[in-house]
Each structure stands twice: as structure tokens, then as C-alpha cells.
Symmetry: C2
Subunit: 140 residues, 2 copies
DNA sequence: TACAATTAGATTGTATACAACCTAAACTTT
DNA sequence: AAAGTTTAGGTTGTATACAATCTAATTGTA
């Protein structure tokens, strides 16, 4: 059997499995805030940018409108953001953070340090993997 | 703003983004074979094990029955595998590869080397990330 | 040996993901 | 300015993922 078609020799598979598992571990921490993981990273964009087009958010998160549009509608309904078509360019929809959305930031403060405890890597290794993944991500 | 809640300071995010992007790049290579990425890794298990329980496949792939059951039914319909409840332990369902499933192996042979060209890492870096991700995966 | 606890899959419900396609708006080019 | 092209979002359809729950089979135990 072709060794290259063995699961243990894949580079993509551990990437896929680790990503899923870590997202899964975020879930109980995000659940009290009412956020899913994807909504959480969308809120990170909002906390930092306050107002941004769907297009630019998609570029930051590597997500397209097929994923973002329904999710942003849910987040609008939850009261964390508002959506409004831009007046300068009517093709664009601007997403803006609300006061409720800002409040979530305080409640999310404890999450990063809690998650750090879930990752079984020494500090040095975490930095290595961070560096390598960023290099890979920038090549996309 | 809390620096720890910035997207660029997350470890999980590049993991999530890289995994999605690499799976996305597999898609056109797998499409002629009629496989999705998840079906492809399931076939890897089948090519190696020939016959395995749903439970054990789930442990190898980090997937549960909620994902596997519907997918394996599709793969059975496609003719690559067969599903049969075990006679020794009627709780278990054994999945076995068919002749059609074995044929797919030949057609998949070219995929790993094609994918290698999609990853913008030097040989050394690919090994590093492989090692770190496996360490992380084993801690689950 | 009854009976409680565990286990394996299946099912249901919710939430992504993304390709493919559609519409409207903005931009290019002639 | 009219026609063709590109762009931004929205919609549809398909395929995961996974929590929660259910059923049937098996195992552990008093």
C-alpha cells in the first residue's frame, strides 16, 4: 500500500483534527456568552474595528458571504451588531458593533487564558506553531 | 482593548483557517474521484484496515456517529464500502472495503504529491509543524 | 440472576462552510 | 452614453460537525 496514502503520514489531517478539537474546547467557554466559535472570531474583528464591511471581515476571517450573511443576521438579531448597506457604495454592507456587543468584550476577557490551559504545548512550541501557521496562512 | 482578544494573537485561529484552506485545496483533486475530504480520510482508514468498526474509525478520525453514520451510508450507496452489524457484538457496525473502494486507491495515488505543491513551507518547516501537531493531537 | 450502568450507533436539531448561481451597483471601455 | 466587466452580498443546495437524546445490546455487580 502506498505509504503516502496512510493517515499517519498526512500533514493536513492533524491540522484538521487539531482545529476541530480546539474549537470544540472553546464551546463550553463561549456557551455562557451565547457565542459559537465562528461568531467569537467575528466579534474579535468587531471589537477591534468597530465598523467594517462584510467583504473585509471575510478577508480577515477567510469566510465568504455564504457563511457570513446568515451568521451576521443571527448576530444582529442577538443585538451584538447592526448591518446597514453603505450609502457611498450600495453594493457593500457595513457591519457595526453595538453597545451590547461591546459588553460581550468584558465577559470574553477570561477566555484566552482559560484556553491556554487546554493546549498541551510548552511556551516555546506554541510560539513555533504560531509562527509556522502564520507563514502558511499568509501564503494563501 | 485587551490584546489577548485580538485575532492576530490567537493560536486557534490560524489553525482553523489553515485547516479550512487546505481542505478547500483538496476539493478539486478529490472531485474527479467523487470524494469529499472527510470521505477521503475515511477511505484512508479503509485502505489500511480493510474492515473496522464505526467506533474505531471514529477514534482514528476524531469523528462521532452523528457525523460518521450519514457519511458512511452515502459511501455505501456509492459502492466503496459495505456496512454490516457485527454478529459477536450486535451493538457494533463493521465497515468493510469493497472492490470498488480498492480501485479508488489507485486513482488517489497522485493526490499526496499534488497537494505537497500547495503548501508553502520548506521541507524542514513541514516536518516541524507535523511534529508539533502530532504532539498536540496525542494530548487529546 | 435481576438490575443498574455502560457502550455503540442512529437520530434530531443547530450551526457552519463553500461552490454555484443570482441580482444590483459600480467601474471600464469604446 | 451604451455595453461589457467586475464586484459585493444574498440565496440555494450539499456536506460536514457535534451536542443531546434515544434504543438496543452488553457488561458489571449486588
Amino acid at each position: 500500500m502506498n505509504e503516502k496514502l496512510k493517515l499517519e503520514n498526512q500533514l493536513c489531517f492533524p491540522l484538521y483534527a487539531c482545529a476541530k478539537e480546539i474549537v470544540r474546547r472553546y464551546t463550553p467557554l463561549l456557551e455562557p456568552l451565547g457565542l459559537t466559535y465562528t461568531q467569537y472570531i467575528a466579534m474579535m474583528v468587531m471589537w477591534e474595528h468597530k465598523s467594517i464591511s462584510v467583504r473585509d471581515m471575510g478577508k480577515l476571517l477567510f469566510l465568504d458571504s455564504g457563511t457570513l450573511t446568515p451568521m451576521l443576521k443571527k448576530m444582529e438579531k442577538a443585538g451584538w451588531i447592526s448591518r446597514k448597506r453603505s450609502e457611498e457604495d450600495e453594493r457593500m454592507v457595513m457591519v457595526s458593533i453595538t453597545a451590547e456587543g461591546e459588553k460581550l468584550h468584558d465577559r470574553a476577557e477570561a477566555i484566552p487564558s482559560k484556553m491556554a490551559g487546554c493546549v498541551a504545548l510548552e511556551g516555546d512550541e506554541a510560539l513555533q506553531i504560531y509562527t509556522l501557521l502564520h507563514k502558511l496562512m499568509k501564503s494563501f
